[in-house]
């Protein structure tokens, strides 16, 4: 029996390599100043969906929300085997917290329509909240299973999943549809397939095309740019290289529930971590020095 999966993926700043210059004055992050990568656990979510399709048939649709640049992770999904990819991009969605983000993603998933599974990575490395998956599930009114480590059994409309919740594991069973979040021990994500890279590397969403046209014709008049963009978009569509791009109107979103307006949590303050060189007592690496240290720790009752 074939299964249709939707995989929510996110392009994230590589938080392992962050600098102070990457922060804007208002405390939000200047994502443009950071290398952007495929959120690691989302790759495991994608792999889980691809494995189901390879075994049982069906489809895998990748969905992301972000700026036009986020189409990069959609191409990565297609290179690995996704059948369809959708970018949800809209300035009115900017500054959404997890509640607003999950509302928008859930609207997009409803717009896609039929699905058996929604897969998400457990959490994204920029916020580390792990909230969007469960909140999406609530909005969709489906059961959630977090921390998938293994798909134990899939038969008809019943699935058994092994969850790894850190200090233990359990196998749970439920009926489809279900939203599942995936941890990194679940599988080994496949690499991009060379043939698919060749076939799809020129695939673009319309807003990427318009950006490319602007860069190619810096002095072009507005009508000229629009005509050129339309022409290129049309050419891509004919070659089946046009990736889908949706906005909030396309998914029938209530704007009051999107962006800043739809976000109950507000960032009040951001502090960069600064190393406080307040100074410490340096102990020489000698037997006498170490003896003094132990003595001091005893005197101050740290060691008793």
């Amino acid at each position: 029996m074939p299964y249709d999966s939707i995989v929510c993926v996110k392009q994230v700043p590589d938080t392992a390599n962050i600098t102070a210059e990457a922060m804007k004055e208002d405390g939000t992050v200047n994502r443009a100043a950071l290398p952007a990568i495929f959120n690691p656990e989302d790759l495991h979510a994608l792999e889980t969906a691809l494995e189901i399709r390879d075994r049982f048939g069906g489809t895998v649709t990748a969905l992301t929300m972000g700026p036009p640049k986020a189409a990069e992770v959609l191409r990565e999904c297609i290179y690995r085997g996704a059948d369809r990819a959708i970018l949800l991009t809209d300035r009115r969605a900017a500054a959404s917290d997890t509640l607003a983000t999950s509302y928008i993603l859930a609207r997009a998933i409803r717009t896609i329509g039929r699905y058996d599974f929604v897969f998400c990575g457990r959490q994204a490395i920029d916020g580390d909240t792990a909230q969007v998956g469960p909140q999406c599930a609530e909005k969709l009114g489906v059961t959630q299973i977090t921390y998938l480590e293994d798909l134990v059994k899939l038969e008809g409309d019943t699935v058994q999943i092994r969850r790894n919740f850190g200090h233990g594991k359990e196998v749970v069973e439920t009926r489809l549809p279900v939203l599942v979040t995936v941890v990194e021990t679940a599988n080994e994500p496949r690499p991009a397939a060379a043939k698919r890279v060749m076939r799809w590397k020129r695939a673009r969403v319309p807003s990427e095309v318009s950006q490319e046209v602007k860069e190619a014709m810096p002095n072009g008049a507005e009508e000229q740019l629009a005509a050129e963009t339309a022409g290129r978009v049309d050419a891509l569509r004919k070659k089946d290289l046009l990736l889908e791009q949706w906005d909030l109107d396309r998914i029938g979103a209530d704007l009051e529930r999107c962006g800043l307006a739809g976000s109950p949590t507000k960032v009040f303050r951001i502090q960069s971590i600064v190393l406080t060189k307040s100074g410490y007592t340096e102990i020489p690496p000698t037997q006498e020095g170490v003896k003094q240290l132990i003595h001091e720790l005893v005197v101050e009752h740290t060691l008793g």
């Binding site: 938080t15 962050i18 917290d97 997890t98 509640l99 920029d126 916020g127 580390d128 909240t129 792990a130 909230q131 998956g133 469960p134 909140q135 599930a137 609530e138 909005k139 059961t143 959630q144 977090t146 921390y147 919740f165 850190g166 200090h167 233990g168 594991k169 359990e170 196998v171 749970v172 069973e173 439920t174 009926r175 109950p264 949590t265 507000k266 009040f268 951001i270 502090q271 960069s272 971590i273 190393l275 406080t276 060189k277 410490y280 007592t281 340096e282 102990i283 020489p284 690496p285 000698t286 037997q287 020095g289 170490v290 003896k291 240290l293 132990i294 001091e296 720790l297 740290t302 060691l303």
Partner: protein, 342 residues
């Protein structure tokens, strides 16, 4: 959507498993009592489960005034749907101003589902909480006595303070080990209020097939002294020196992520953002460079001794005593001095 209720209580979700309260829930009782005292309101705990009466008494001893219990055989085992139904129903009924959850696997699965149901805000994995007046920079309106929800973000590179102005309750998950646990006071009195909540099939959609809980082998949180080794230890064999020092000093063995990733020691020993957060009387960091993720898990230690061959290692920024040198020479000296002392 729920409007601010400034008379609302400060609540804790009481997480329990097989009749035992989770440590972080007990830690949060003390924090809730502090916050309640600052705000001049009572504290409450939501306790879904089966045969929970004894645990309710313990919550009161730890600082809770009213324990709302939903006792139902179908709640004996946690599942997101049923627990979320209980909490969201009770939150809508009693309108607490703050709801705190442990940032455990269960709490981080459950809390966002509740937040989505009641369309409230949710801040994940806080390491500190405070109360303060806050001026909205956009409207210039002053919001009195908001909950400051303080958490690391961006891989621990920044600390963000999150607030909720006008959509309450203010809810957060809080990391285990960052709030001190109070001594239980069994002379404290409080109320136990049974709350019936309707549970239908839709919130009981999961069937448990099997379950395996790994016993916690390492009690890092309870240790008075911790000796931790880092990536600089270099091998599993060399880690023996860490064990030797821990043995000589009567402490537990910890590790940095680099040491765990290097396969020198098991993950249950890991201290730091993705491991255990500790606050011992003495923390000895050996050959640990001190990435922010590690420091976040140990910088609350009363005293920190760092041993590192690199004078510029960030670990020295949180150290009280630093020894710049090769641990293979320094640790035997420490062990010798400790033995001589006895």
């Amino acid at each position: 959507m729920i409007e601010p209720n400034r008379k609302g209580e400060v609540w804790v979700f009481a997480e329990q498993e097989d009749g035992a309260l989770h440590d972080v829930s007990m830690e949060l009782c003390g924090k809730a009592a502090d916050l309640g005292a600052r705000l001049g309101v009572k504290t409450g705990a939501v306790l879904p489960g089966h045969n929970v009466k004894e645990m309710a008494g313990r919550l009161i001893a730890l600082g809770i005034d009213t324990v709302y219990t939903t006792d139902d055989a179908r709640l004996a085992h946690f599942q997101t749907g049923s627990y979320a139904r209980v909490i969201s129903t009770l939150v809508e009924k009693h309108r607490p101003q703050i709801v705190l959850y442990g940032a455990t696997a269960m709490g981080r699965d459950l809390a966002p589902r509740v937040a989505s149901t009641i369309q409230a805000g949710m801040t994940a994995d806080c390491t500190d909480l405070d109360i303060s007046d806050v001026t909205d920079p956009k409207t210039k309106l002053v919001h009195a006595n908001l909950l400051l929800q303080i958490r690391p973000a961006f891989g621990g590179n920044i600390i963000a303070t999150i607030v909720n102005y006008d959509r309450w309750p203010q809810m957060a998950t809080v990391r285990e080990g960052v709030m001190p646990m109070r001594e239980p006071d069994y002379t404290r009195t409080g109320r136990i209020v049974p709350e019936a909540v309707e549970l239908d099939e839709t919130v009981l959609a999961l069937k448990l097939i099997e379950r395996h809980i790994e016993p916690r082998k390492v009690n890092l949180k309870g240790a008075r002294v911790i000796v931790s080794g880092g990536g600089g230890i270099g091998s599993k064999e060399n880690f023996k020196l860490i064990y030797d020092l821990a043995g000589a000093i009567g402490g537990a063995v910890g590790a940095s992520r680099a040491a765990v990733d290097g396969g020198y020691i098991g993950k249950e020993h890991q201290v730091g953002q993705t491991g255990t957060t500790v606050r011992p009387a003495l923390y000895i960091a050996v050959a640990i460079s001190g990435a922010i993720q590690h420091r976040a898990g140990m910088e609350e230690s009363a005293k920190v001794v760092a041993v590192n061959i690199d004078r510029n290692a960030p670990i020295f920024s949180v150290a009280h005593y630093g020894i710049v040198g090769d641990y293979r020479q320094v640790l035997p000296m420490m062990i010798k001095s400790l033995r001589e002392r006895v």
